[in-house]
Amino acid sequence: MPSRDPFSDPFTGEESGRTIIELRGISRTFGAQNVLRDVSLNIRAGETVCLVGESGCGKSVTLKIMASLMQPSSGDVLWNGVPIGERSDEELVRDRLRFGYLFQGAALFDSLSVFENIAFGLRQNTKMSDAFLEAIVAERLKDVGMSPTSARKMPSELSGGMRKRVGLARTLALMPDIILYDEPTTGLDPIMIDVINTLIMKTRRRRPVTSVVVTHEMSTVRKVADRVIMFYPLSRLQPGESQIVFEGTPEEAFSSEDSRVSQFVYGEAGERMEELALL
């Protein structure tokens, strides 16, 4: 029977590199629509994994299932070898706090200031004094390259890039062991994309975190990924074919001879143009 406190010190000594998140035969259906079919994958401690694939192929759903923000229709999610279904409510909430989740649109709370957004998780789960919270928020803002004066602003006053950075600061405030990034660079300009990529790298250098990044940006893959997992839309697969069509290093992805991988990696529409009757 595995330990009931599975995330205790997961990245040190001999434990480093072991599987800390495992998806076994995950399927997810929305009404009549199948989005995930029998997906199995592992995330190892300390690595940065990029999930890539076309829009609608189930990457974000996979990320939410990993963090237990969504239930799979079938299959098991294991955190450090223990199925999440075996956890009590309290254990699930406690263990979920080991995850940081950067949402696609940052998902900042509109009615709260930047300070309150970043301090939210700490207020909710600890009894820190306001002075201590202020110090932590200032430090997290500094980590993402924002001035402490930004803390007084409301989310509506921030640009897209700033919102993403505040979202990252909020995610980092709880010192998570695993950070899940859902399209962290979508909708940003190339400079801001590089800023976010650098922050992902910087976060990893500062603390031994495990990262899973859902992205369409191959520059992000090149810069941050140790491993790439490519999903393919179920609608384009034959029955029984695996939905994960590639798993390997970024270099292997860029040199893959599988047209499904190379077309995505190099952004070539190929036969899709004909299918869409655009030629």
Partner: protein, 310 residues
């Protein structure tokens, strides 16, 4: 098992949202078409059956939502500042609209009733009718309708927007339970403050009716109050206030549920706000009818004999 129940709403909500996204992003090729189920049958029986199933599902969903809310309410209150902010929004900011509508309802009752009572030379009894109607029915229903329109719609729209923008997921990811953080304060605010709003609506309605009847229509004030106090009993006032608490609970639950289960995009949020008001209004009237019957029966059981008004 408990965990599954807890996640039920959010899972369902996320399903709808992602389903619509996934469908929108799929290309219309033959593989997709082959995975789409056969078109729905549209005979009257199929449509009726579908409506019945959807109704049962909706009621079951709302019941589960209410159970979850009550469980979190029993586990402990959210932070005081969250509850206070919600109470300010629900209670204090609703007072002006309740004052205005209450005043006019009282005056409208006086204007409409005067001609009839005057023909029977019973205008001095108008106070009894106006005040009875206000404290037993119109005050609670009016306050509830204002709450459903002003606060319920705003709640549904706010929570719907939070859902669409993944803020509800973000709450869970940050270790907060969305039901405890978002629904419990709103429920408490509506449940506890609607009686006060009802009292305000009653009082201003009574004042409006009195003012128009005695100062404009020339009804004798002494007889007006004499018949009012003779026929309107404390029970009637209490019954109205008691009913309002049920209205408040229903409004909060329906509005929050509509917000938590709203569809994707601006259209989904708009629909959630509309559904919240329409459903709340229907439920208020249905509850008013059944609670009215129940409270009348209770009155006759506790105090057998002729009613105060007859």
């Amino acid at each position: 098992m408990e965990c599954e129940l807890k996640n039920h709403f959010f899972d369902r909500v996320a399903s709808d949202h992602l389903n619509s996204c996934a469908l929108a992003l799929q290309e219309p090729d033959t593989d997709v078409m082959s995975s789409v189920p056969a078109p729905r049958r549209t005979t009257i029986i199929h449509t009726f059956g579908r409506l019945v199933i959807e109704f049962v599902q909706a009621v079951g969903d709302l019941a589960l939502f209410a159970t979850s809310m009550l469980r979190w309410l029993c586990r402990g209150l959210p932070r005081r500042i969250v509850v206070v902010e919600s109470m300010y929004e629900v209670g204090v900011r609703s007072i002006p609209v309740v004052l205005i509508t209450g005043m006019f309802i009282g005056m409208v009752l006086a204007v409409q009733g005067y001609q009839q009572f005057h023909l029977m030379r019973m205008e001095t009894r108008m106070g009894a009718v106006i005040n009875m109607a206000l404290v037993a029915e119109l005050g609670p229903v009016l306050a509830a309708t204002m709450l459903a329109g002003r606060v319920g719609c705003a709640m549904a729209a706010e929570l719907g927007t939070m859902r669409v923008t993944e803020q509800i997921d973000a709450l869970r990811a940050l270790g907060a339970n969305p039901v405890q953080y978002l629904v419990v304060p709103r429920f408490l605010s509506c449940f506890l403050l609607i009686p006060l709003l009802t009292v305000v609506a009653d009082a201003i309605g009574v004042a409006g009716g009195w003012m128009l009847s005695t100062q404009v229509l020339g009804v004798d004030a002494t007889y007006y109050w004499h018949y009012s106090t003779e026929y309107v009993a404390a029970w009637d006032v209490c019954a109205g206030i008691l009913k309002s608490m049920f209205f408040g609970a229903a409004i909060a639950l329906i509005a929050c549920h509509c917000g938590f289960t709203c569809g994707s995009g601006a259209e989904g949020v708009g629909r959630a706000a509309t559904s919240s008001f329409v459903l709340s209004f229907v439920v208020i009237l249905v509850l008013d009818f059944f609670l009215g019957m129940f409270l009348n029966e209770l009155y006759w059981t506790l105090w057998p004999g002729p009613s105060s008004f007859v």
